[in-house]
């Protein structure tokens, strides 16, 4: 090995503490990147394989009732490759020992064979016995949440008929990777289930022998989905079709699509910022680090080494540190990636998970760190080599100092000589101080961004569930019924208030844009549910016209006063033009609201409601649920409190891991920066400080000069980190917008406090470590060595 290389290795070992701190900064940046890339790639690969291998459908069409023979006509439509018909229905489930309402979707399976599309993955138990009419398969998530196993029994009410079934197996389906109740914000596995039963048994319950109410289609390669959907709509219109839809309107697919899009944003934004900050810090740290080696650079030059040789020598040290950091980062990131993917497994129900780590992404991450570090090093070496060698070997000429601005502003008696040194030092090299402050601010800002998501989602939940919705229980009817039904519910023991609502599935159209959602008709004088405006006030619904949430309005490209084309997707399938009367700010979903009376007037089918919102006396919720369960017209009843609880649980699970990983990585970067700033400051000023010690300064006084400067820079960096953190959070929020939810730009005071606290703790720990070194300053060495 060449002596120069040996020097590199020994130097590296000598500065191992600092090198490790720097390597950890790199490791954190790379780990975030690897974790994110691995999580996203794994989930996407898994999803694609599941959809391919388990023959996920391309188009779904729901009808009221159609004769089986119609399937052949669908098969003959252009673009259709494969057709399968089935039955699907809503159900209520009761489990022994669980007293809350459970909603379910029941789907039929062919009596003697596997389905041709949307095949099931059987996790445990067995498939249904041919023609068995008392067996069901249940979705794995529900079975797990309720602790069910093959052989357990459940009671299901389908279309008013109640029957006991035996659970024979737990299954997963590509249609329910994301198993969520329509309209819900997050999954609630305890209270929402998917059941599969034999076609003949379900047909008997629904009175659908020889008929179907749902048809699924796989398209030929290259077929135009839109044309096929239009043709299917035309063909199935007379059978009460709600309109065929493609994968983009399939709930699970769309949730996955949106979630993956958000995840892709997060995995782009977070690591980019982390890596960017890490790269910036590396550049600054290495520039200063090599700057302290000015004399060594000069000696090597005096021996006849070229500037390039010297730069390569330091480049080797830097590369080794980067490689160490990268190795730690890749290993740590891959491990965290498996954790993250496993966590997402509980959220997206994939039967299997293909772990995948994309090499180009990882190499790009390592490349970015390395280039940033080497640029800093190169700059410092060339700066040191720029001066004639003899000059570089001399101590630098004393810098020109002057009285600092701070001294002019502060009364003289406050200023000891050491304090003056601190101020003058900072003011004389403001650019260096600025870089340090910027680095510290970035490190603090990362902490804020990591905490932002958490507080923002809490705000979102708060707004959606506590401010705009104030009911305890919501009950849905099997189909819209007369408004007076609400009186019966109001009469139930324990019910205090009851308000009817009507939820109408619609497709909005405006020019070439269309969105499928629903209009919520709310009681005009109602108290229990009202949209809120930007000032967080509950609004009064206008007499007439639509109230759209801002995101839906933006997607449709309409504003107040515009007309929107509305296609009703149920009943008589009216088509009407409605004016937009008002916009509201909402963070969840794509809702449209309307005064219930105005909605009923516009639809012209009578004074109808599709459900009711109730408030219930404390402790009487279970009684109310039992009473509601006995009413065959009530298909589902949900507890708002349970929904909020389920929501918080999912959020805690989802954001928790990511947040804590971000915080850990952010803290490492934070500490790395502060520690290195302190160490480099010590290296730059060691001789000066030791000389002061020789002159009789105490260790405390000398520490004050060095650490006082650091403390001042840290103090200045904290407000700046708030500003940078706000900017990063805004960028994140902006990039996380989707149909599902918009993260509100709200940063809790605790997030600011947390960021500041982390920086301060890092600074204190670094100060302690450096103080230890100040105590060991070599005083004799100062007198002896060249200067």
């Amino acid at each position: 090995m060449k002596a120069l290389h040996r020097k590199a290795l020994r130097d590296l070992w000598h500065m191992r503490g600092q090198a490790l701190a720097i390597a950890m900064v790199i490791a954190s940046g790379i780990a975030m990147l690897v974790m994110s890339a691995a999580t996203l790639d794994s989930l996407q690969d898994t999803r694609d394989r599941l959809y391919r291998d388990y023959r996920f459908s391309d188009v779904w069409a729901q009808v009221k009732r159609a004769p089986e023979a119609l399937a052949q006509r669908v098969a003959e439509l252009p673009g259709v490759n494969e057709v399968e018909t089935r039955l699907i229905a809503g159900a209520k489930i009761e489990l022994p020992g669980f007293h809350e309402p459970i909603e379910a979707v029941v789907q039929s399976l062919p009596d003697q064979s596997e389905p041709a599309q949307n095949r099931l993955y059987l996790r445990s138990g067995r498939m249904l016995a041919p023609f068995a009419d008392d067996e069901v398969l249940v979705s794995e998530s529900f079975a797990q949440a309720q602790n069910l196993k093959p052989g357990d029994r459940l009671r299901a009410t389908v279309y008013g008929r109640t029957q006991w079934f035996t659970i024979v197996g737990m299954a997963l389906s590509p249609e329910y990777v994301y198993q969520i109740k329509p309209g819900a914000m997050f999954p609630d596995y305890q209270r929402y289930a998917i059941l599969w039963m034999n076609r003949r048994a379900l047909a008997a319950a629904l009175d659908m022998n020889g008929a179907f109410n749902q048809v699924v289609v796989r398209l030929s390669p290259g077929a135009n989905e839109r044309d096929t959907i239009a043709a299917m709509d035309l063909l199935l219109a007379r059978n009460g079709s709600l309109g065929a839809h493609g994968r983009m309107d399939q709930l699970s697919y769309r949730f996955l699509h949106e979630e993956f899009r958000q995840l892709a944003t997060m995995t782009r934004v977070f690591p980019t910022i982390f890596l960017g900050v890490a790269a910036f810090l590396l550049n600054v740290v290495f520039t200063r680090l090599v700057g302290t080696q000015r004399d060594q650079v000069a000696i090597l030059k005096a021996f006849g080494y070229s500037t390039l040789d010297v730069a390569l020598h330091y480049g080797l040290i830097v590369t080794l540190i980067c490689l160490l950091g990268s190795a730690l980062g890749v290993a740590g990131g891959a491990w965290l990636g498996t954790l993250m993917a496993a966590m997402y497994q509980t959220y997206f129900r994939f039967p299997f998970l293909d772990f995948n780590l994309s090499a180009p992404v990882v190499l790009a991450g390592i490349g970015v760190s390395l280039v940033a570090a080497l640029l800093g090093t190169g700059r410092a070496v060339y700066a040191a080599a720029d001066a004639p060698v003899a000059e570089a070997m001399r101590p630098p000429a004393p810098d020109r100092f002057r009285r600092s601005l701070a001294e002019a502003a502060l009364p003289g008696r406050w200023l000891s000589q050491p304090t003056r040194i601190i101020f003058r030092q900072i003011e004389r090299r403001p650019f260096k101080a600025l870089l340090t402050v910027l680095g510290l601010a970035c490190a603090g800002a990362i902490m804020m961004m990591a905490r932002f998501q958490d507080s923002a989602i809490n705000t979102m939940v708060e707004l959606q569930f506590r401010l705009s919705q104030q009911h305890d229980v919501s009950a849905s009817f099997i189909e819209p019924g007369p408004h007076r039904a609400v009186n019966e519910l109001r009469a139930l023991p324990g019910v205090r208030l009851a308000e009817g609502f009507r939820s109408v599935p619609v497709r909005f159209r405006s020019e070439n844009r269309s969105m499928t959602t629903s209009i919520e008709g709310l009681a005009p004088q109602g108290e229990l549910r009202r949209p809120i405006d930007a000032q967080l006030r509950r609004i009064v619904l206008p007499e007439d016209g639509l109230v759209l949430n801002d995101y839906l309005a933006a997607r449709l490209g309409v504003g107040v006063g515009d007309q929107v084309w509305v296609e009703v997707l149920e009943g008589r399938r009216q088509q009407l033009a409605l004016p937009v009367a008002r916009l509201v700010r909402e963070h969840v979903g794509l809702q449209a609201y309307m005064n219930l009376d105005a909605l009923n007037r516009a639809l012209g089918d009578g004074d109808l409601i599709s459900g009711a919102l109730l408030t219930v006396d404390d402790g009487l919720e279970p009684d109310v649920f039992r009473a509601l369960d006995r009413r065959p017209r009530v298909i589902g009843a949900g507890s708002r409190l349970a929904a909020v609880e389920a929501l918080y649980k999912s959020i805690a699970q989802m954001t928790g891991l990511f947040m804590w990983i971000s915080i850990l990585m952010g803290a490492i970067i934070n500490f790395g920066v502060v520690y290195n700033s302190a160490r480099i400051a010590l290296a730059e000023r060691g001789r000066e400080l030791a000389s002061l010690r020789v002159l009789g300064f105490t260790q405390g006084e000398v520490s004050y000069i060095l650490l006082g400067e650091l403390a001042l820079l840290v103090a200045v960096s904290i407000p700046l980190s708030f500003a940078v953190g706000y900017g990063l959070s805004w960028y994140l929020a902006h990039n996380l917008q989707s149909d599902l939810y918009r993260v509100p730009m709200h940063i809790a005071p605790s997030a600011y406090a947390f960021a500041a606290l982390t920086t301060v703790v890092s600074a204190v720990l670094s100060a302690l470590a450096v103080r230890e070194r100040i105590h060991r300053l070599d005083l004799i060495g100062v007198l002896k060595t060249r200067e």
Binding site: A3, R6, G304, T307
Partner: protein, 239 residues
Amino acid sequence: MDAATREVIFRAEGLTKVYRMGEVEVHALRGVDLVLYAGEFVVLLGPSGSGKSTLLNILGGLDVPTAGHVWYHGEDLTRANDAQLTAFRREHVGFVFQFYNLIPSLTARENVAIVTEIAPSPMPPEDALAMVGLTERLDHFPAQLSGGEQQRVAIARAIAKRPVVMLCDEPTGALDSATGVHVLEALERVNTEMGTTTVVITHNVDIARMAHRVLFMADGRIGREQVNAERLPARELHW
């Protein structure tokens, strides 16, 4: 030696150097003319701040004069660029500094090797260390060596490349008398056995007695020159 027939290594004319230290201008050299011959042992004597080190640094290509010229074997060093100066130092010059400037993380052998690895026709580091009497200390780190030993490592490092010229800035300045003599013996041996032109800066008048020629510097000029008719061997020096 006959001045007319001897080979000229360095010729300097009108060397001037002005340093700007902060707001103060320091005139380190004020028009120095100088000729150095092959195989000479020259001592530069003078008080602190007389310009000795500046002159040496310019001769060694470590610094550039503000005015004037230096020719090394007829090549004008003041017109050389950084790459040419680097090559000049790498191939022709050996430096010895007052405070050794060894690399603390390398052993004695490695400190020599760091130079031999880039020189065109070096001697083995072990041979160089043997010439300065350090065969026993090859694998010691600088921190494990005495000051004299460290300086001898520095000399070994300088001679290992078989330089044409050795430039030594206060090589004994940090050493006691007995140790200093050891170091000077090493320099003397290199000068005699290898014919290396050697320039030694010192403010120690006694050392001048071992030189062929002594240049007295004051105020940035060479005040006078003295040729020693009789040289004293280094081992007979003491101060």
